[in-house]
């Protein structure tokens, strides 16, 4: 058996098993918050994360989950995680797989916004259940910092959206 080479790409792949505690269908990689993977001497690994929302309580949990997950690999040395604002997270960093995962959780994925946020953008949210465009935004604030509240006029279902930021 060929020994697995420890590369940033390998670690990134492994981190796909670490899921967002609030949206357990999406991995932290597809969420776009893994902004740095450094392989050091003795296969010590240093992972850099960027916060989704400054006040997100899941942030520290995700740091711990990364350490816990990677620590279970014998081939890896010490695992350290740091949170840094150097790369500013936006929902445009969520991968296409991430969009699918968000939908699977029953949330409408965020529209691309390129840094410009308008009420129109929020109102133009497709229903994650029936894909209808005939929806009404009820509130830009939802049960967690990253969610907004909507209603689908076609399938008469209330739903939540992942807020574009």
């Amino acid at each position: 058996m060929v020994e697995q080479a420890i590369t940033p790409a390998y670690i990134r792949e492994e981190l796909k098993q670490v899921k967002d505690p609030e949206i357990p269908t999406i991995s932290i990689v597809d969420l776009g918050i893994v902004t740095g993977i450094d392989i050091k001497e003795n296969n010590d690994i240093h992972v850099t994360l960027t916060p989704t929302f400054a006040g997100c309580p899941a942030l520290r949990m995700m740091e711990d989950m990364v350490v816990e997950h990677l620590s279970s690999y014998e081939a890896l040395g010490n695992i350290t995680v740091e949170t840094s604002f150097e790369t500013t997270w936006t929902t445009d960093l969520i991968t296409p797989e991430g969009h699918e995962a968000i939908k699977k959780h029953g949330l409408a994925p965020p529209k691309r916004n390129c840094g410009s946020l308008t009420m129109e953008l929020l109102e133009d949210t497709h229903c994650p259940y029936c894909d209808s465009q005939d929806t009404t935004m009820k509130s830009p604030f939802g049960p967690t910092l990253c969610r907004s509240l909507h209603y689908c006029n076609s399938c008469k279902q209330a739903f939540e959206g992942f807020k574009p930021i």
């Binding site: 400054a54 006040g55 604002f85 840094g115 604030f141 049960p143 910092l145």
Partner: protein, 252 residues
């Protein structure tokens, strides 16, 4: 004043504003006039308090105590928040007007700080700027709706605006750090900030059928930045620190 001291002064006033308005916002949890508004003020509280923690962390990196100690062990005279943020929540009219005046000031502040020469502050400001757009959008929607609502709603909003105005001007109290901050390209300074803020809110208030008090009567209420506060701050701090005072090692 050297640039580190100037930077600390700037960070303290922003962080303290965020923490205290965050606490005030949280007082609407369970009491909002609509469920959505209850959630909105609670979410904004979480944003503000989360942001303040990151700013206290920057202060910690500059040698100040850790964020919890800074947030929970100081008394009113050691706080640098503006008096606007410590006023009680009052009626929803006042809370919305304060939210509007405060959040547009923060919007302008973080927009300016995105290009600060002090990189750690520029980085968090970029993040906060993205989040605060939701706060200004929320504030403007309600100010517009109620300003344009009917005579009663317009009257209440106007009355709150008149009351809040001089407190709002107090947010821009210039301090001894201004000159250094401007010279070192850390911050544009309070005078420039107030101008940006004013040019942003004037057309919005006008479109909402509200009148800004005439300039001849402006009398900014200063003092907050140097620890002079209203009688309302200490009771807020006492409540906010209740758990910490009983058991500083408690986790929640």
């Amino acid at each position: 004043m050297n640039s580190i001291e100037a930077l600390k002064e700037l960070l303290y006033k922003i962080a303290d504003d965020q923490l205290i308005i965050g606490h005030r916002n949280s007082e609407w949890t369970g009491l909002g006039p609509l469920l959505e508004e209850d959630i909105a003020f609670s979410s904004m509280a979480q944003d503000k308090i989360g942001q303040s923690e990151h700013l206290y962390n920057l202060l910690h990196q500059l040698g100040e105590a850790d964020p919890d100690t800074v947030a929970f062990t100081r008394n009113a005279p050691q706080f640098h928040c503006s008096q606007l943020v410590e006023l009680p929540i009052g009626g929803y009219d006042f809370s919305l007007i304060r939210h509007f005046l405060f959040d547009f000031a923060e919007y302008s502040r973080f927009e300016a700080l995105k290009t600060s020469a002090y990189q750690p502050l520029a980085q968090v400001s970029k993040k906060f700027f993205g989040e605060i757009k939701y706060h200004t959008m929320h504030a403007n929607t309600w100010v517009h709706q109620l300003g344009k609502g009917n005579e009663e709603s317009n009257g209440k909003m106007q009355e709150s605006l008149n009351y809040a105005w001089n407190y709002a001007l107090g947010m821009f109290e210039p301090g001894p750090a201004e000159e250094v901050l401007i010279k070192e390209n850390i911050f544009i300074g309070e005078i420039a900030l107030q101008e940006k803020w004013f040019s942003m809110i004037s057309p919005l208030l006008e479109n909402s059928g509200l009148t800004i008090p005439s300039q001849a009567g402006w009398a900014p209420i200063y003092g907050g930045r140097v620890g002079e506060h209203t009688e309302h701050l200490q009771p807020l701090l006492t409540e906010m620190t209740e758990v910490y005072t009983i058991d500083p090692s408690a986790e929640w």
